[in-house]
């Protein structure tokens, strides 16, 4: 996919430089200092226009922390994130409107990322209102619902009236509404059945082409990354164990950790 703009031929959009994130763990003793956990230990990442990058690693490898920092949802202990050259500084939502217009997110579990008291239409309208996009947005709501394969006639329904796969489609529609340039997806199909998973991956792949989206996908499943991403970054204990073109890394993984991850993927 994304035959154009390969290998960073497009403009540099998101750039993370020497990211470090240290969490201080809860006190386990009244004496001594609190232990620290290095979730990210110096990670660089460049997202060019048209790129599709998979961030893989086990639980605790730092991949979600990286996604949160890229989104301006968490502050790195050291290092910087820029979008089109402008520094991303975590802060109140209003201060990050410029970033949210272009960089959107889909989370793992749609059941907890969609507000159960809002209708599908209200959910999709919310980012547009929040980002001060002019207009009443009705046309846009119908447009993105159709794009993700949900009948716009059901837009007055609430999240619980949709199946898990449809809920994730709604979450994708919400992310698409402001017409972003970059989509950050944190384990977008981990909560879904295998058959629904395949449909959502097909949908995402199609949307990337239609909307000229760049994709950063966080996943513990190398099979998912294999079908979706041109590039892969393997995180291990907060550091990059290996990175490169997905096909090359998967064909000949040089790092033992990558080899272990690959060996764990079921084969059919």
């Amino acid at each position: 996919m994304n035959a154009s703009n390969r290998d960073g031929a497009g403009d540099l959009l998101l750039a993370a430089t020497a990211l470090r994130r240290v969490f201080r763990l809860p006190r386990t003793s009244v004496f001594g200092s609190r232990a620290e956990r290095h979730a990210l230990a110096g990670v660089d990442l460049d997202v060019h226009e048209g790129a599709s990058i998979g961030i893989v690693g086990e639980s605790g490898s730092g991949k979600t922390t990286l996604a949160r920092i890229l989104l301006g949802l968490d502050k790195p202990t050291a290092g910087t994130v820029t979008y089109r050259g402008r520094t991303v500084t975590p802060g109140p939502p209003a201060s990050l409107r410029w970033l949210r217009t272009d960089v959107q997110v889909v989370f793992q579990d749609p059941a907890s990322s969609l507000d159960p008291r809002m209708s599908a239409e209200a959910i999709i309208r919310e980012p547009l209102v929040g980002l001060r996009v002019p207009g009443d947005h009705s046309d846009r709501v119908v447009e993105v619902l159709e794009a993700v394969g949900i009948d716009p006639g059901t837009r007055h329904r609430y999240p619980h009236e949709f199946s898990g796969g449809q809920q994730q489609r709604l979450a994708i529609a919400r992310a698409l509404a402001p017409n972003p340039k970059v989509l950050i997806a944190d384990e977008p199909v981990s909560a879904l059945d295998v058959s629904v998973r395949a449909q959502i991956l097909d949908l995402l792949a199609g949307l990337m082409g239609d909307y000229e989206l760049s994709l950063v996908m966080v996943s513990h499943d190398l099979g998912v990354v294999n079908t979706m991403c041109d590039e892969v970054v393997v995180l291990h204990h907060g550091a990059v164990a290996e990175r490169g073109r997905t096909a090359e890394v998967f064909a000949a993984p040089s790092d033992p950790y990558t080899q272990r991850l690959l060996a764990a993927v079921p084969r059919l």
Binding site: E58, S59, S163, G164, D193, V194, S195, V196, R197, A198, Q199, L201, H220, D221, L222, G223, V224, N226, T227, F250, R260, L261, L262, A263, A264, V265, P266, R267, L268
Partner: protein, 261 residues
Amino acid sequence: MSLLEVRGLTVAFGDQVVVDNVSFSLDGGGRMAIIGESGSGKTLTALSVIGLAPETATVTGSVVFGGEELLGRADRALSKVRGEDIAMVFQNPQTSLNPLMRVGKQVAEPLRRHHGMDRRAALAAAVELCGRVGLPDPARTVRAFPHQLSGGQRQRIGIAIALACQPAMLIADEPTTALDVTVQAEVLAVLAELVAAGDGASTALLFITHDVALVPAVADHLLVMRSGAIVESGPVAALVDDPQHDYTKQLLAAARKTALR
């Protein structure tokens, strides 16, 4: 004679039939997988076998285990069977383990209950079981509470509890769905190894999953369920190589999308 013989199992909630006339049999030491999407009735089929279907459900048909009919038996009589003859590993060890009890005591519980072991002997057996499911430093691990263990370690505890009494049959309902891919591979390996290794007679396995890709690692016979009914069944290798039913083909295509070759 088969170890488990299910005939015409039907589960309904009021007028809504969610498991429809399901029949299958499992031999001693056999390994069978049931696959299907959410809502296909696969979990309810397994739960009905050991009398754990919700009370609001009407269960009819016949479930003969070791020559005895289980359907319609009183809960008291069934609780003798559960854990001793038929054990179960649940999807989410986070919710299936007791958060307030040290894990060693939880592994020892079925041994004390069914085999009448005293506390010390049961705990010693629990340490040995924890070692067999591949937990590091079992003597220390048995003193941990569930929240102190990782997801994969918790599921290993779930397997240790299930295998404690060397049951004739183990039902594993999506035992790896809540786990990372690497941890999933480890847990499946432990499960397959222990089921086969049972001292003397091996344990029969009924493995429930939505992911066909996991099946070849643990089972040799496959049932495909859709909307409460079995649409296709047969040896795993044959079904994976040459599926007949369209639905089986769909499931395989979906699984192949994210499996490596």
